[in-house]
């Protein structure tokens, strides 16, 4: 990799260009040392990912394609599983969730980001409310919407045939804030005159009617002419589509058992399978799910790469002559009464108020203001702290708060400790297989844990970690690793080559260079720390499937108390859920700028 002399040149294989590397005085062992160092840096993360993600996936594929006698049956079992009407309905429902929910979330998030600019309120309370809803654990969101729609609490709306609607509302409530924040950040970055400064008035100097128009439709469409906005839409769509797997949390908390069949999606099917080991039919379903997921993500990634800017329309002569010479079209006279500014001023507060309602209901039930002892009746009364006191007096809530803090802190530290060296090696040391590693990481980041639960558990059984705190931590770390490595690798790759070159010249060792590089990507590191911590804090599935002896966590607790909703016993469930949401909401609201900055830029200014 190096040549003699004080300055050497090496090919940066990961990016296909020549990188000048200062490697100090010529030493014959140096190339070997760098190779060994890069291997050592990548090994812990890659070993864990191979052991607990790649091998379990391969085991699933093998179980799906192997017959009872051990012979290969290829797709026979998958065909058999899919021949059931009920199974096909579940697969179809899972697919619909992955398509429709992201469409709604992207449209709403984008529309709000644009509307916020029209009325200049994007830094206000509406933004905080939307972001806060995204930080609420989904199990808590489930409790909140269950309180809203349960027949025994407030609206009495939940019933047979209405389950999917209630779940959809809860999901959109939880995810629109994230989409809004991302579009907001991208529009801030946009250099189009119609981007950050657009107040819906249009660019009256432009010849393009879309740029010039003041109508609601044109004003809404304008920012999408920027390819970054459209690429962002594709990326957000993909993220939310992958996240629809977590509708599982909502179903478990919100939907009574008899109605679960109406809402069942693949994660629930896998969860309710009675086999404790990797079984053929579940494996076949898992393979169908994984194949669909990977095809969808790959397709969206290819689409995102192909997005190009939309060229401005140059009006032909006829339409040009139809524009009055004073340029009044779309400028002085609005297209209708509903101007973008007016629309923004109406939409933003209304959305903000709507987004607050579930939180108010949760708080009101927790404070005993809304209660119901009899099906179909509810009333308002003076607030009290009885339910909150009961929740804490019980003891498990306090234990779970402590347990979740420990698990989230330690898992986050573990993820950073493993991801940072691996990301550094992948971005600047380019060990063999770097490009393949990137693809595998992206694939691992989207594999749902529900698919892996049984083979992953088998792997942990093999080393005696099932049921221990170490086992729970290992699962959280391995699930958080792919995303963390990707974000940190991207940030490290964005460091100027000159900085790295200088670091290597000045540094006493590879470790010293690594430390300096890590300090330069503190924004990305902070974003990873915050997001990983919140992700672990908000978890439900891992806590349920890989419980740790002697350590309670909040997700399963919220799920347990949610079973008591209705029949006058909702107060404690609401109080527990409210307490469980305080930490992640506070962290995300306080660190919102750091998260966006860390993910978008990642490198210190």
């Amino acid at each position: 990799m190096t040549s003699g002399g004080t300055t050497g040149e090496a090919t940066d294989r990961s990016r296909g260009r020549v990188l000048e590397l200062d490697v100090g005085p010529a030493r014959s062992t140096r190339a070997v040392a760098i190779g060994a160092v890069s291997g050592l840096l990548v090994l812990p993360a890659s070993g864990l990912l191979v052991w607990l993600i790649a091998l379990p996936v391969l085991r699933m594929v093998r179980a799906a394609t192997t017959g009872a006698g051990g012979g290969v049956i290829w797709l026979d079992r998958i065909a058999t599983v899919l021949s059931s009407d009920a199974t096909r309905a579940v697969v179809w429902r899972t697919f619909l969730w992955a398509v429709v929910a992201p469409l709604v979330v992207v449209a709403a998030g984008y529309g709000l980001a644009v509307a916020a600019r029209w009325c200049g309120a994007r830094r206000g309370w509406v933004r905080a409310v939307l972001l806060a809803s995204s930080a609420v654990p989904l199990a808590v969101t489930g409790v909140t919407f269950r309180l809203l729609v349960d027949p025994d609490v407030v609206l009495g709306w939940l019933g047979p045939g209405r389950v999917t609607g209630a779940l959809g509302l809860a999901f959109v409530w939880a995810w629109v804030g994230l989409a809004y924040a991302v579009f907001d950040g991208v529009l801030d970055e946009s250099d189009l005159p119609l981007g950050p400064t657009d107040t819906g008035q249009g660019d009256q100097d432009s010849k393009d009617p879309v740029d010039r128009g003041t109508g609601l439709g044109k004003a809404l469409v304008r920012p999408m002419r920027d390819e970054r906005a459209r690429r962002t839409a594709v990326v957000v769509f993909t993220l939310v589509a992958v996240a629809t797997v977590r509708v599982f949390d909502l179903i478990l908390v919100m939907v009574p058992r008899p109605q679960r069949a109406d809402a069942e999606i693949l994660p629930l099917t896998m969860w309710e399978a009675t086999d404790t080991a990797v079984a053929g039919s579940e494996a076949a379903l898992a393979v169908v799910w994984l194949a669909g997921l990977l095809a969808g993500v790959t397709g969206m990634a290819a689409w995102a790469r192909r997005v190009r800017p939309i060229r401005q329309r140059v009006p032909d002569e006829r339409s040009a002559t139809s524009v009055p010479e004073d340029g009044s079209v779309g400028s002085a006279v609005p297209d209708s009464w509903v101007t973008p500014k007016r629309a923004g001023r109406i939409v933003m507060p209304v959305v903000g108020a709507l987004w607050v309602v579930p939180v108010i209901v949760l708080g009101a039930v927790a404070l005993g203001m809304v209660s119901s002892a009899v099906s179909g009746r509810w009333w308002l009364s003076a607030p009290d702290l009885d339910a909150v006191r009961s929740a804490f007096a019980w003891g498990i809530l306090t234990d779970s708060l402590i347990g979740t803090t420990v698990v989230a802190t330690v898992a986050t530290a573990g993820v950073v400790a493993l991801a940072l060296p691996a990301a550094y090696a992948l971005s600047w040391l380019a060990p063999p297989g770097t490009q393949v590693g990137g693809i595998v990481l992206a694939a691992a980041a989207v594999v749902p844990v529900h698919v892996l639960a049984d083979p992953l558990s088998d792997a942990l059984v093999g080393v005696g970690l099932v049921g221990s705190l170490a086992g729970l931590l290992v699962v959280h770390v391995v699930l958080g690793l792919p995303f963390a490595v990707l974000v940190l690798r991207n940030a490290l790759s964005d460091l100027p080559e000159e900085d790295i070159r200088r670091s290597r010249l000045e540094a006493k060792s590879t470790g010293d260079t690594f430390r300096k590089a890590a300090l330069k990507i503190l924004p990305a590191l902070s974003a990873v720390v915050v997001l990983e911590f919140v992700q672990v804090w908000n978890d439900l599935f891992v806590g349920l499937r890989f419980p740790a002896s002697g350590s309670s966590v909040l997700g399963p607790l919220v799920h347990m108390v949610a079973r008591n909703i209705g029949a006058g016993t909702s107060g404690m469930a609401a109080a527990t859920a409210f307490v469980a949401a305080v930490v992640p909401v506070t962290i995300v609201v306080l660190a919102r700028d750091e998260i966006v900055h860390g993910l978008v830029r990642g490198v210190r200014e």
Partner: protein, 443 residues
Amino acid sequence: MGKLRDARVLVAGAVVLAFVLGLLVRDAIQGPHPDDVVEVLVGDWSDGEVSYLRDVVAHYTDAHVEVRAQEDIETVLADRLEAGNPPDVAIVARPGLVRRYASQGWLEPVDQQVTSRVREAWNQLVTVRSGDGPSRVYGAWVKAAHKSLFWYRPEALHNEAYESWTWTDLADWVEGRAADDAAIGAPLAVAAQSQWPLTDWFENLLAARDPDLYDRLASGETTSWDHPAVHSVLESLADLWATPGALTGGPEAALETRWNDLPNLLRDGRAAVAFGPSFMAGPVEDLPAAGRPTAFGFPGEEGDNPLVVGGDIAVVPEGSDEGERLVEWLTDAEAIQLWSQDPGYLSPSRLSPYGPDGASEDDLRRYLTQPFLDRERPLHFDLSDELGAAQGGVGREMWDIFSQFFEEVTDGGSDRGCAIERVVDRLGALSRGETPPDVECGG
């Protein structure tokens, strides 16, 4: 200043990392929990049930006891037993699960001092014979549920001889009451949203009409449900549930009714009678004493009331001495007395304060406990908890089948014959470990 901040970040990172490593090393050396803590894993219990057990074990003086509820305990417990990292005690609701774990050599047999506290029929459910060795009991019954009960408002059944009712008498009374315009409230409340009450209806009527068939189906001795008794039970249930005006709020409201809603429906006079288990005594006790609902036994065919029971079994994984000591204490009179603070709690033990020798004057709980100890009463364990024990249990699938059956026979448009045939076919498939067939019954 910037360097100082960087250094702080690094130090903080190093401290957290050291903490991680420390915990992992501690786990590796000490095992999952310290020696002076006894871990008890319970199944899908409500927070109230967990809370009562926590209060009970707070009086255990030999060690600190941690109680944890675990969704899907079958999967998690099997993994932990296999990994050699089990809890000290697990409390499960399915005898079949206990027999399976015992057959795999994962459990300690229970001391005879403990097994002697319940009648033999309970011990039989968790007895396993390993090879040529003697039969051993592998679970200690710590809770029991009486599932053959109707709850009623005393004034609603005034002048009715309900204690000697047969099924026909009950059906006639429901029909008459439903047709009575002057009646306040419907005759019957059904908690269809909870699902398991629907299977309990079926189990009770089957236990009344053909107890031998019940036991053969429960043990897996037969896997065919295509039997006249099964058909006749399903017909009778369909007749009753579909009686116009029989159910509080109609069938749609029944599908939104949970078992713990039933006491309020009785109190408000919206139902005269509700089918529910003994642990309904908990929410019932929260109601005002005046007019508080009470219970009578599920009607039999010829006056013999069936007895369908459920319960929770404490098992001790192999090698856990702490677990054995705790289970011995949990089945002792002191723990049972403490646990009885939970108004929904019943013990099948002879040491129960509600047994013949017990000191309690609570007539209702005495009435509910007495059948558990009566050697003459045949005892049938909840079929949905026993069914498919070899496949890991299929109780939830059975709930789903009966939930769908309830919807079909009460909607007025479905083909009842087809619905019954489908239940029979699907239950048979479940018993044989096959996937229940998809068959649509048209209107």
